[in-house]
């Protein structure tokens, strides 16, 4: 046997399952990745255009063959259009998720979806204010209904600005207005981008990218923020909570149910359904000790943040969970669900169930989710899982023992409460820690997994390097799960990995050096944290003044591109691992990795080596500290010695 499994993943649990796949000749993502090599250079460079039927057109990157498409589009236009459509795809996915949450909130408020309670009333009142909804004399339900409708209306809004933009620093809002990139409506900007990138419309690459910023802002400060904030209203704002992570959360003597995908509407109800006595009794009748509900990908993050339910892993572990042979049922909703799951599930007794009309798998059982009958549907699906326990082949069960503890559940609101101590609901201590140089700054490390880089490795290495240099790290999505599996999301990890200054802050406040703020739509929480830090004062008047940086070291999805663009458009320096498909155009590459900083305060960099990327982020943070004329980093020498 080769050492392929070790090269493929940095996570020991995943390594074991990759090896098992190899032994049983079951093809998984890494095998398909190998079979796909070499990957098309035109696609990688972004210089293949399939937008119209005169094409496909490809620009010869070596300058000998065609240098324009048949319509005459230059490589700059082609690259910009392709990138713009990636932003648009990502923004559409996040925003459609937000739309579904707004819809569910309205149904719950009207009493039509009675399996939901309106748990986040504090947040409801705060959001009502943002949306200009009067609360006096109105019931919670009435306010929630009006808020849901107001949010839903923003998707199709044609004029003006999205309301949540008002939560950004004043300077930022003015800059957006000046540049004409304040989104008017969520869907409007998405549709307009599809128009602009149609054959024979926009061919100024800067103009195309600038509208991309607008689309992305409509995601970050629109669709995604609506998804996060309304989820908090519907399901309650998360609070710091202890949980466990990795494939070891699957239990040999239990019925194992995995919820995978992104939206919390169904998964949140499933957490109630598994407590149903009748179902538990049924599980016992079949010889199981109970029902074990675990999450996968961002659905995991949603139920982890709010209920402390365990996470079985991140994106590249979805097939591996089934390979344990211990999963009775995997239910999926939308996004990042590999079509390959159905064939892997067919190699085991595992039942795969789709639930969203937007995400159907051929030959896979579909039980459509309706908010009005949420609990009933959830129970029906759980029952199928329980019934399937008897089909498990005991000899094929092989659950890796790896399991790690973590603390999750940090939000814009409660992170501050924690940092401020019990009686001070303020970010002042965070600002003070940065101003005094105890903290160098903060960084968001987010994003996916990608077989083009060793699974989890880039996330872990980058985050370790950052916290070693006194940078507080916030995380979401698959990146958070990667670092949780390494044990970085525990308060104790501060002693082992954090620089002296960060360690002091963690000890004083009792937080991990790496804060889990949720799923990928919850990146919007990071935008609001940054805005609060600006509002608190002492660190400039715009997000682009802050000593902060962002990164997506193992990115793969269009959503990651949209997230990257809304961070850049909000003034954040953002490092992606492998490059976005822009390298075929020097102009576009230069625009987004250089010139954009002078336009909007943020820019991209591409660096696949996570340590080098972390050093680039540290350099940027140092530059911002110098511009703010802040004191030197308190334990700089120590940090250097460690580096």
């Amino acid at each position: 046997m080769s050492d392929k499994h070790i090269e493929r993943s940095a996570d020991p649990a995943s390594q074991k399952m990759i090896k098992k796949a190899e032994e049983e000749n079951i093809k998984i993502a890494w095998d398909r990745y190998d079979a796909m090599q070499p990957q098309c250079g035109f696609g990688e460079l972004g210089i293949c255009c399939k937008i119209c039927n005169m094409g496909p057109c490809r620009i010869d990157p070596f300058g000998e063959g065609s240098q324009t498409g048949i319509c005459g589009a230059s490589k700059d236009t082609i690259v910009a259009r392709n990138l713009a459509r990636m932003i648009t795809g990502g923004a559409a996915a996040h925003s459609d998720h937000g739309r579904d949450i707004a819809h569910a909130l309205i149904l719950a408020a009207k009493g039509e979806a009675h399996d939901y309670a309106l748990k986040g009333t504090d947040k409801l009142r705060r959001l009502a204010k943002v949306y200009g909804i009067t609360v006096e004399g109105k019931s919670i339900e009435k306010i929630a209904e009006e808020l849901g409708e107001a949010c839903l209306a923003e998707f199709g809004q044609q004029h003006g600005e999205l309301r949540m933009l008002s939560l950004a620093p004043q300077r930022r809002q003015e800059l957006w207005r000046k540049l004409g990139v304040s989104p008017r409506g969520v869907d409007r900007e998405i549709v307009e981008m599809m128009h602009r990138t149609h054959i024979g419309v926009d061919n100024d690459y800067k103009n195309i990218i600038n509208h991309g910023l607008r689309v992305a802002l409509g995601d970050g400060w629109g669709g995604s923020m609506i998804a996060t904030e309304l989820s908090d209203v519907l399901f309650g704002s998360p609070e710091p909570i202890r949980a466990t992570v990795n494939l070891g959360v699957l239990k040999e003597d239990h019925v194992n149910i995995v919820v995978h995908g992104h939206e919390p509407t169904l998964s949140d109800v499933v957490t109630d359904a598994v407590k149903d006595k009748e179902l538990i009794d049924l599980a016992k009748k079949y010889g199981a000790k109970g029902i074990n509900l675990v999450g996968m990908c961002c659905t995991a993050n949603e139920i982890l943040m709010r209920h402390g339910l365990p996470s079985a892993g991140n994106f590249l572990q979805q097939e591996l969970a089934i390979l344990t042979g211990a999963v009775e049922l995997m239910m999926v909703d939308v996004q990042c669900i590999m079509p390959a799951l159905s064939s892997v599930a067919n190699s085991f007794h595992t039942k795969l169930v789709t639930t969203s009309p937007k995400c159907i798998f051929p030959g896979v059982e579909h039980i459509q989710f309706h908010e009005e009958k949420a609990l009933e549907i959830a129970k029906k699906i759980i029952r199928m899982g329980v019934e399937n326990y008897k089909n498990r082949t005991k000899q094929r069960v092989n659950i890796p023992p790896e399991i790690k503890g973590l603390v999750a559940g940090f939000t814009t609101e409660n992170t501050f409460r924690i940092l401020g101590g019990k009686y001070r609901f303020t970010v002042r201590p965070l600002n003070d820690a940065i101003i005094s140089g105890r903290l160098r700054g903060a960084a968001g490390v987010v994003g996916c997994n990608n077989p083009n880089i060793r699974h989890d490795w880039a996330h872990i290495e980058m985050v370790k390097e950052l916290i070693k240099n006194d940078i507080l790290v916030v995380q979401t999505g698959c990146s958070a799960i990667a670092c949780a599996k390494e044990g970085l999301l525990t308060p104790e990890s501060a002693f082992e990995y954090a620089g002296e200054g960060l360690r002091e802050v963690c000890e004083a406040v009792g937080i991990p050096p790496v804060l889990h703020v949720g799923s990928c739509v919850d990146n919007s929480r990071i935008l609001l944290i940054l805005s609060s830090v600006v509002a608190e004062g002492g660190l400039g008047d715009d997000i682009s003044d802050l000593p902060v940086a962002g990164a997506a070291p193992e990115w793969m999805s269009e959503k990651a591109v949209s997230i990257g663009f809304y961070f850049v458009a909000s003034g954040v320096y953002t490092v992606f691992g492998t490059p976005q498909p822009v390298i075929g155009s020097e102009n576009v590459t230069n625009y987004i990795t250089n010139e954009l900083e002078n336009v909007i305060g943020g820019k991209f960099a591409f660096e696949a080596d996570p340590i080098k990327a972390a050093r680039m982020m540290i350099e940027h943070i140092n530059k911002k500290r110098a511009a703010l004329k802040l004191a030197g980093v308190m334990y700089e020498k120590t940090a250097n010695a460690k580096a």
């Binding site: 990957q39 098309c40 250079g41 490809r58 000998e64 063959g65």
Partner: protein, 170 residues
């Protein structure tokens, strides 16, 4: 040009070379090869054919490089020596390594001995499949399809000259 190519095709000295600094691994050569060896020779129809054509060229990753690799029509071809049924032979006039489908018994000895991994197993028909230098066309499908000009037809000297000129330009 076409006459020139036709003459080239017949020459013993002329081969297909791949400039690895220009190969981007787009697999256009693979697609063109498969289409050329199909019944319809049309990319939109090929996908509907009951028996899918087999490509005889492969864009392969070698370390960080990509190279379009096919039968090199070796002078002293190991596959011809290894062939027990006489399906493989050398054309003394053109230097091409020929494969006779009717004689092939699918023992895969040629697949095993080929130092370039250029012989493909057609499992469906249980015969070996390799580059036949596109007998139905004047040029070569893979070379014609190469969008970057990485594939080059000529003698060893011509190819070396081209590389030298390119190095000078840079």
């Amino acid at each position: 040009m076409s006459k020139d190519l036709l003459n080239k095709k017949k020459s013993k000295e002329v081969k297909i070379f791949c400039d690895i600094t220009k190969c981007v691994g787009c697999k256009s050569c693979e697609i063109a090869c498969a289409v050329e060896h199909s019944q319809s020779k049309d990319i939109y129809s090929v996908v509907k054919e009951s028996s899918r054509p087999k490509k005889r060229v492969k864009a392969q990753s070698i370390g960080k490089r990509v190279v379009s690799l096919h039968c090199q029509h070796c002078e002293d071809a190991p596959c011809v020596k290894a062939c027990m049924s006489g399906a493989l032979s050398k054309d003394p006039a053109t230097g091409a390594t020929l494969h006779d489908n009717d004689k092939c018994v699918g023992c895969w000895m040629c697949v095993m001995v080929c130092p370039f991994g250029a012989i493909v197993q057609d499992v469906e028909n249980h015969i070996a499949v390799k580059c036949d230098l596109c007998p139905d066309r004047e040029d070569f499908a893979c070379v014609a399809a190469c969008p970057t000009g990485a594939l080059f037809v000529g003698t060893k000297e011509e190819f070396e000259k081209k590389l030298k000129e390119k190095a000078k330009k840079e």
